[in-house]
Amino acid sequence: MNNALVANEVSKSFGDFKALNNVSISVPKGSIFGLLGPNGAGKTTLIRVINQITLPDTGKVLLDGEPLKAHHIQDIGYLPEERGLYKSMKVGEQALYLAQLKGMSKAEAKKRLKYWFEKLEIGDWWDKKIQELSKGMAQKIQFVVTVLHQPKLLIFDEPFSGFDPINANLIKDEILQLRDEGATVIFSTHRMESVEELCDHIALIHKSNKILDGNLQDIKRQYKTNTFEVGLVTGNEAELTQLISTKFDTSTANFKSLNNDLKLNIKLKSTESSNDLLSFLTSKAQVNHFNELVPTANDIFIQTVKNS
């Protein structure tokens, strides 16, 4: 089995409302899996099913090939979107308590906490109460508590909310390092640029149904339109545009460049290659910019949700 987690045709209804409709996902071991979807699509319900907070009506969830059982709670680290800590409890006590609830011994939890507190340079917060810390500081503690018990599967729901760019970057690096050390990460967010940066697999859930999933590169390949963005230096823009559009399918492009170029999007047919286009262009003008338009996760998200 190469999948850390498999959800098989999971359905869940709340009264008349169907929150999940036969949703299946497979999360490959060692991957960062983006769970995407508009608000209210059913992502949180799916995550809660994986965490055994909500029981599914039908369908199965397998962790490392085994159906979910109570002891699997220790193998999962979950950072919910609606998160917080006991405000009047001290940082250290609180972290120890939460670690023990995840099945760690007190001594081990203390050792691991010391390691993480040093790593994130928050060692002197041990005796502070959460209410004395800023939101970003509390988020750091929350992150440490999530990963402390070295879970095989990490689930982050909007992990970067509440962080400034520097700390968001710090947390991003920690997530990548945890992945490199063998953890599998499920990552739910609305911020498409971090999906682009981190995820290698994605699944898109919309109105309780999964409408897209797979390797992010494959999906991008599937969604690309063979369109190239070009910037040309020429004396006579109108004439050149006329010339190109007789041979190729063109439209006006909009990108930033230093020169006052002629900017075009050129869509190739499947029979044409980028080299053909490039050699044609170089024979007519100076090429300053040549770039294949690869669909961003954002484009794919919006397009798929609109079309479904």
């Binding site: 709670i73 006991y86 609830l101």
Partner: protein, 437 residues
């Protein structure tokens, strides 16, 4: 350590270490005792005030009825008109003037007696005067009718019906009072405990919701475990507080009464004065002895076991409801509409206990209410000192445990759905839907 004991430990420690909890624990008995001491002191001060009451007896019938007491001096005025007497009393700033006018017969005199004073006189003074006058005038009337008062006094018989059951168990009035006191205290204690610590549980559930830690916690433990841990931890903190209150209260009571010499039994009102005069010291001793036997005769083992069981059962039943309410709402102000169904049976239980158990501890009303699970803990605890058949106790306990299990199941359902619901205030209809999720 398993999850439940971890949760209990945390709940207990956070409650006990909480500043306001500590202040409440140590300050309440001090405030209570101080309050009692102040009230006692003031009452004594009031009673120590010396009063002078002048009496203008134009009828010449009753002047001998008034003997001076410790605090009250009576002055008999003679050969003064009412106006002059009033002026005199006013001038001398005495407490008041009792005017007994002339009349053709005693009845007429009795109807026209008046008391003049600057302010409205105290109720106890007036009733004390009335008592004396009534006695005196009654005696006079009896004498006029040719009745020998000495004979009447001699023929007065005091009755204290000795009570005995067919099996030969002896009881007395004082037995009943002792039983009522023990039952009442037990029932009331449970009532107070439920209200104070039920609310505490509810607040702690709401706190977990508002601080948004709840989802983090229940990704590690089952909601049912969290709920039970909360209930048990808070109860233990409650018991700790109660025990400290008892010990501290007892110690303080002793200290205060020895320092200030305020002996509560010496606090007297004029009425008590008279009652005590009537009571012989021998009676007092006998009563103390009777009291001891009454306590000794109580079914103490039964009471203690029943107290523990019904207390735990009743408390758990109600606190699971409190936990469910806490889970259903976002903040304390929204709890009102759900509190009613909890408070009504609880208050009903106390009223039924107080009014019907006194009247008839084994009557239909008290028996029925001691079976209905929401009222049974309080009512049964009040009934037990009077001796309740074992089968009734077991049946009531069985019903209580059965209801407790159903309620906890309901509460847990509401709890596990409610803790993840934010934003809107739920209606009963919505909560009913949650049960099916």
């Amino acid at each position: 350590m398993n999850h439940l004991s971890l949760i209990i430990k945390r709940e207990y420690l956070t409650k006990v270490k909480n500043k306001s909890f500590i202040i409440m624990t140590f300050l309440s008995p001090i405030i209570m005792i101080a309050l009692i001491a102040v009230v006692a002191y003031l009452a004594q001060l009031n009673n120590d005030k010396e009063r002078t009451i002048s009496i203008l007896d134009e009828s010449g019938l009753i002047s001998s009825a008034f003997e001076n007491t410790e605090n009250t001096t009576y002055i008999i005025l003679k050969e003064l008109s009412l106006e002059n007497a009033k002026n005199l009393v006013k001038e001398k700033e005495e407490y008041g003037l009792l005017h007994i006018p002339m009349g053709v017969d005693i009845d007429q005199v009795a109807k026209s007696i008046k008391f003049y004073s600057e302010d409205t006189p105290s109720l106890t003074i007036i009733s004390s005067l009335e008592n004396r006058l009534e006695k005196k005038l009654t005696d006079l009337k009896l004498q006029q009718g040719g009745v020998d008062i000495e004979k009447i006094k001699a023929s007065k018989t005091s009755i204290d019906i000795a009570q005995e059951s067919y099996e030969g168990e002896k009881t007395s009035k004082i037995d009943n009072i002792v039983k009522l006191a023990f039952g009442g205290v037990a029932g009331y204690l449970l009532f107070m405990f439920i209200i104070i610590y039920g609310n505490m549980i509810m607040r702690s559930v709401i706190e977990e919701k508002t601080s948004r830690i709840i989802e983090v916690i229940i990704s590690s433990v089952k909601p049912m475990q969290l709920m039970m841990g909360k209930i048990i931890g808070t109860s233990l903190a409650g018991i700790t507080q109660f025990v400290i209150w008892l010990i501290l209260g007892g110690v303080l009571m002793m200290v205060v009464s020895s320092i200030f010499g305020i002996n509560l039994s010496e606090m007297q009102t004029p009425q008590q004065e008279m009652m005590q005069q009537a009571m012989e010291s021998q009676d007092m001793q006998m009563q103390a002895q009777q009291l001891m036997t009454a306590i000794y005769n109580l079914p103490l083992t039964n009471m203690i076991i029943a107290f523990v069981l019904f207390f735990i059962g009743g408390y758990l039943l109600y606190s699971s409801l409190y936990a469910a309410i806490g889970a259903a709402v976002d903040n304390e102000t929204d709890t009102q509409q759900f509190m009613m169904p909890i408070l009504v049976p609880l208050i009903l239980a106390v009223y039924v206990g107080v009014f019907t158990v006194i009247e008839d501890p084994h009557g239909t009303v008290s028996t029925v209410f001691s079976f209905i699970p929401l009222t049974s803990p309080v009512v049964m605890l009040m009934r037990i000192p009077f001796g309740v058949p074992l089968w009734q106790q077991l049946l009531s306990l069985g019903l209580l445990i059965g209801t407790f299990r159903i309620t906890v199941w309901f509460a847990a359902k509401i709890y596990r759905v409610g803790i993840l619901m934010y934003g809107k205030k739920p209606s009963y209809r919505e909560i009913y839907k949650w049960l099916k999720y």
